[in-house]
Each structure stands twice: as C-alpha cells, then as structure tokens.
C-alpha cells in the first residue's frame, strides 16, 4: 500500500526568496502545503531598546533603518510622533516636502515589490526594469538628502535640507514617465499569462480574515477593504490631497499586485498636487536643541507606510531620552497571515505569497 508522509522543509532563513531573513517552516505533503510556521527575528537589532538610550533626535537614523526600502516613511512616522508628543507645529513647506518624499518612498517600495515578485516568480528581467526606475527615485533622494537608501532626512520640526533646484525637473520628468513605466510593467508582468496563472486565486485572504488578523495597508485593501490611514485618519497635510484608495476584489496575490501598481499611480497624483501647492518658507521649524518632554506623557501616532499601518508609541520620562518606544510594524503583522493564505496551496504558492505580502524584515524583526 502506497502512502505519503508529510515532511518539513525550511524556506529560509538562507533562501533566495526569504526577503532578508525570514524563515517559513513548511510542512508539506509532496508539493502540497499542509502548514506554514513563520519564524521571525533573524534580523533583530533591538531598535526599540536602542531608542531608550538615544535622545529623541538621535533616533531618527535608526528609524530609517526599520523599513529600509522606503526609509522616509518610518522616519516620518517617528518625527511626527515626537512632534505630537511635544506639540510642535511644522512649517508649511516642510510638510509639503515630507509628503513628496514620503510618496516617492512609497513608489520606490512598491517598485521593489513588483521587482521582487517578478524575480521570485523567476522573471529576472522584470526585476531589473523595476529597479532601474526605482534608481531615479534614489537619485532624487540623493539630491535632497545626500543619501540614497537610508536617508535620515526627517528632523523633528521639519526636514534636514530644502529641495535643491535640480530636484524639481527630476521629479517632474519621473512623474511624466510614470505612465510609460507602468504600461511596461503591465506588458512584461501583468499581461503575462504565466504570472497571472501563478497569482490569480493564490493566497486568498478574505476581508474578514484580514481584519481579524490585523492586516493593514495594501494587503488589506487588496481584500476589498478601502482603509487607508491617509484618508481615514489624516496625518500631516494629507487631508488636502485628492487621491483614490484602490481596492481589490478577492484578496488573492493578483489583487495585492494590482493594488500596489495602482497605488503607484495615486502616489504620483499626490506628488503632483504637492508640487503644485508647495509654498515658500522654512523647511525646519524652531525646535529646542535639547528635547525634554514632560514626564509621563505618551503618544501613539500612526501613518500609512508602504507596508501598512506603521505606529509609534512613545512614552517619555522627563529626560532627553524616551522611556519606551514601541514600533507597530506592519510587516510583522502582515507576515502572520502567511500560514493562513498558504495552507492548501503548492510550494511555489508560498513564494508568491511571501512576495505579495511584501514584508521587509528589517521592520518586522526590529
């Protein structure tokens, strides 16, 4: 009598598709997945603990190392949390600069998503095209902040530099080329029947499950829940912009892919409006050199990062260093849905699901 035994196989932490240091312990029966156990923490750098021994301003470069694929977003969340803690208002121009770089970061992160999905499915060239276009965003970050990947551009009370003059033509030409780029991805990736077959109906995450698991960001919207913190609980000046919240239909990998591609377009719209309305003025407000919030004050601030709801819970103890900083990392929460969406699929679906859930391990392990 022939029978099969389930076996365990480790996808990661050393694996081409492990996205940095993810370990998915997979229990399989042949090519069918019975269960996935996600092990996180391989990239743990104790960022939250480091925050307790750094002053409020000194933590900014560490924050940008959380989600290193969109480094302006975690720093934006952190500085806005500190500003909320202190009750600082930020100059108008700085707010617009922040929106522009934050949305550029979101585009960069989603381009990495599309590229890594392509390469995880075996289409190497798709990755190169996405990274080529992301490189233009990196160049813009280099112009504005001086650093490409981990910019630490945000400062408490504003940003570290104003935009240089060369920034505006660069961002305008990028926005002009955006439709062409997206049509290229559609031609090479979205239109490809093999990619569609591998994404459609794979890793279905229903809206109820997504809410129950606390999934946020594009993954939640792919399940059909139009929830975007920029719209629901606007932070900064996001209430001034007009943009759509793209949603998916059934929450499969294909929806997670298309939602992100549409979000690239919407981010482009926001940047156009911000560039149009941007006033002149200061880029850095008046902030005391030594920041000492009153003891016992605490704040939770959340932003819509490229991966989902990124929240900072900061407790002050009256000194110049925070008592506790907690990061609500969207990648960490989103990764918890991997077993749910992968169960009953094939081995190759796990790879698709990891790619479309789009974790960044620096953030989830912290």
């Amino acid at each position: 009598m022939l029978k099969t035994d389930p076996y365990t196989i480790n996808i990661g932490p050393q694996h081409p598709s492990a996205h940095g240091g993810l370990r998915a312990e997979t229990i399989m029966d042949g090519e069918d997945v019975q269960d996935v156990i996600v092990h996180l923490g391989y990239v743990h750098r104790s960022v939250e603990k480091i925050a307790e021994s750094r002053t409020y301003a000194q933590f900014v470069p560490y924050a940008s190392r959380l989600d290193y694929l969109a480094s302006h977003l975690p720093t934006l969340g952190y500085v806005q949390a500190v500003e909320k803690l202190l009750g600082i208002t930020v100059p108008e121009r700085a707010e617009y600069i922040r929106v522009i770089v934050a949305e550029l970061s979101r585009i960069a992160s989603h381009l990495i998503f599309a590229g890594s999905l392509a390469i995880d499915l075996g289409a190497t060239t798709g990755m190169i095209y996405c990274y080529r276009d992301r490189e233009r965003i990196m160049d813009m970050f280099e112009m504005s902040s001086g650093q490409r990947l981990i910019a630490s551009y945000m400062r408490i009370g504003g940003v570290s530099h104003d935009f240089p003059d060369s920034f505006y033509p660069a961002v305008k030409s990028f926005l002009g080329d955006l439709p062409k780029m997206i049509s290229e991805y559609h031609g090479l990736l979205s239109g490809n029947e093999i990619l569609q077959a591998r994404c459609k109906g794979v890793g279905v995450l229903s809206a109820d499950d997504a809410i129950a698991y606390g999934i946020t960001g594009p993954n939640l919207r792919a399940s059909g829940v139009a929830y975007d913190i920029r719209r629901e609980d606007p932070y900064g000046i996001y209430d001034r912009f007009e943009f759509n919240v793209p949603t998916g239909h059934c929450g499969d990998s294909w929806d997670r892919y298309t939602v992100r591609i549409e979000e690239i377009e919407q981010s482009g719209r926001i940047i156009e409006q911000a560039l149009r309305d941007m006033p002149a003025g200061d880029y850095l407000g008046k902030v005391p050199r030594i920041i000492k919030p009153p003891a016992g004050r605490e704040v939770y601030h959340r932003i819509e990062s490229a991966k989902g709801e990124l929240g900072y819970h900061i407790v002050s103890n009256g000194t110049d260093k925070p008592h506790r900083v907690h990061v609500r990392a969207p990648s960490f929460v989103n990764m918890m849905a991997l077993p749910l969406v992968s169960r009953g699929g094939k081995l190759q679906d796990i790879i698709t699901n990891i790619a479309t859930l789009d974790p960044v391990l620096g953030e989830s392990d912290r």
Binding site: R54, A57, Q58, F59, V60, P61, Y62, T125, Y129, R132, E135, D139, E142, M143, S144, S145, G146, Q147, I150, S152, S160, H161, P164, S166, E184, G187, L188, L189, G191, N192, E193, I194, Q196
Partner: protein
C-alpha cells in the same frame, strides 16, 4: 487569446535589447554623485573650537576628541580628534550640529581598508599648536630644536612630533600606538614594553615619526617576542 501577453513580453524585452545600457562602468567611470552626497566624514583641525556639539549629537559614539588646557589661558587646545568610521551611520547629525563646518562630508565613498584599525581616523592639530600643548611636553623640548637651522621647519616639526609621542608614551596613552598594531590589547602590551625600556622607547618613537612601515614591523616583532616570553618563560630571557 492566450499567449498574447507572452508575445508582448517578448516584444518588450526584444526592444530593450537594443536600447542604451544603463550600467555605469564604475572604476573607469565614476558615478555621478549629487552635491549633497555623503561620502567620507572628514575633519578640519584648523576650524575646531572644541565645543563638543558633534560628540553630543552623535548617536553612535563615532566621534571623540582629546583636549588640553592652553597654558596661561582658560581656552582649550585640541590634542587629537578621532573619527571611528566603522560605527558611523552617515546620518549627517554631526555636520548639522557643527557651528564652524569643521566636520564635513566629502564625495569619497571608497572607504574600505585592509585592516580594521585603519578605519579609525585620528586627526592632530597643526604642529605650531601642538607645541603649546601641555606643560610636560614643553619642558621636554630640547633647546637646539628651537634654534633656527637650515631646513629648520621640517626638523623642528619632526622633533616636536617625536616629543609628543614620547610624552604620550610616558603618560601611558596607548592611543598613539593604535595605528601601529592590529589589536588594542597589543597596543597596551607594547606600551608596557616601551615604558620598561628607555632605549626601545626612543628607537620606537623615532621610527614612528620617520618610517611608519618599519615602525609597524618593529612593533609587531616586539609584541610577538613579549607574547612568546609570556607563554614560555623557560625558553630564555634576553
């Protein structure tokens, strides 16, 4: 029709096959760096006013400096300024905090070194400033060194450096030796050797000023010998 998307993809890759390559041939063609690019962190000893803002603001203890009181004045004098680049996050906080633009980023991004110790950069103030640093060193300077001589400047500088090093060794400041040995414990070991033997100390100080490579070799030999003596004392005393 199925297969249309596949053909379209083939068309796109075919088209790109004939386009201009985006590769930058790095060692031959340097990348086009933007003006604000943050490469190597550098220090200009001329401008430093020893305000200490940089060390306060640095998140990762990259920067440190030694200062000594200026004789006959309340002002302080810089002895050495250390940038330990291996811990640097290139976050720009120190450059923003520095009131005199003493710290600045250059566009040099080729920062890899063969030895870990070489990542650390120690800056000393100009020689004439060092002359006035600390009474102990001022006493030690021989009279002839101050006399004008042919090629006097270079010779005077050399002697001053020599004195500074000797003074440092006498004080047991093993930082001066860091550049010549690979590990910190070796530096302290070498320090004990040199403090024990005046002749070795003089020789070493001269070498450190004149021939850095030779000094390295000699230092390594001293350390190796000392280690050997420690592990096997019966093998013989010198």
């Amino acid at each position: 029709m199925i297969g249309k998307g596949l053909l379209k993809g083939l068309g796109i890759t075919f088209k790109h096959g004939w386009e201009k390559n985006i590769t930058i041939q790095y060692p031959e063609v340097m990348p086009n760096l933007q003006e604000r690019y943050r490469g190597s962190l550098e220090f200009d000893p001329q401008n430093c006013i020893i305000c200490g803002m940089c060390t306060k603001v640095c998140p990762n203890n990259v920067l440190s400096f030694e200062s000594a009181p200026m004789p006959g004045s309340k002002k302080k004098q810089l002895v050495s300024y250390t940038i330990d680049l291996q811990y640097c996050m290139f976050c720009n906080l120190c450059v923003e905090a520095c009131p005199t633009h003493t710290l600045y980023f250059t566009h040099n991004f080729e920062l890899s070194t063969a030895r870990r110790g070489e990542i650390k950069r120690v800056y000393s103030p100009p020689a004439e400033a060092q002359l006035l640093t600390g009474e102990s060193q001022a006493e030690l300077i021989p009279a002839e060194a101050l006399e004008p001589q042919p090629d006097a400047e270079a010779e005077a500088k050399r002697l001053k450096q020599l004195q500074a090093i000797k003074g440092a060794i006498a004080r047991g400041n093993s930082k001066v030796l860091d550049k010549f040995v690979d590990f910190e414990e070796d530096a302290s070991l070498l320090m004990t050797i040199l403090q024990a033997d005046q002749k070795k100390q003089d020789k070493m100080a001269e070498l450190m000023v004149d021939d850095k490579n030779k000094a390295r070799k000699v230092a390594a030999a001293f350390v190796a010998k000392e280690k050997r003596d420690k592990t096997g004392p019966e093998e013989g005393k010198h």
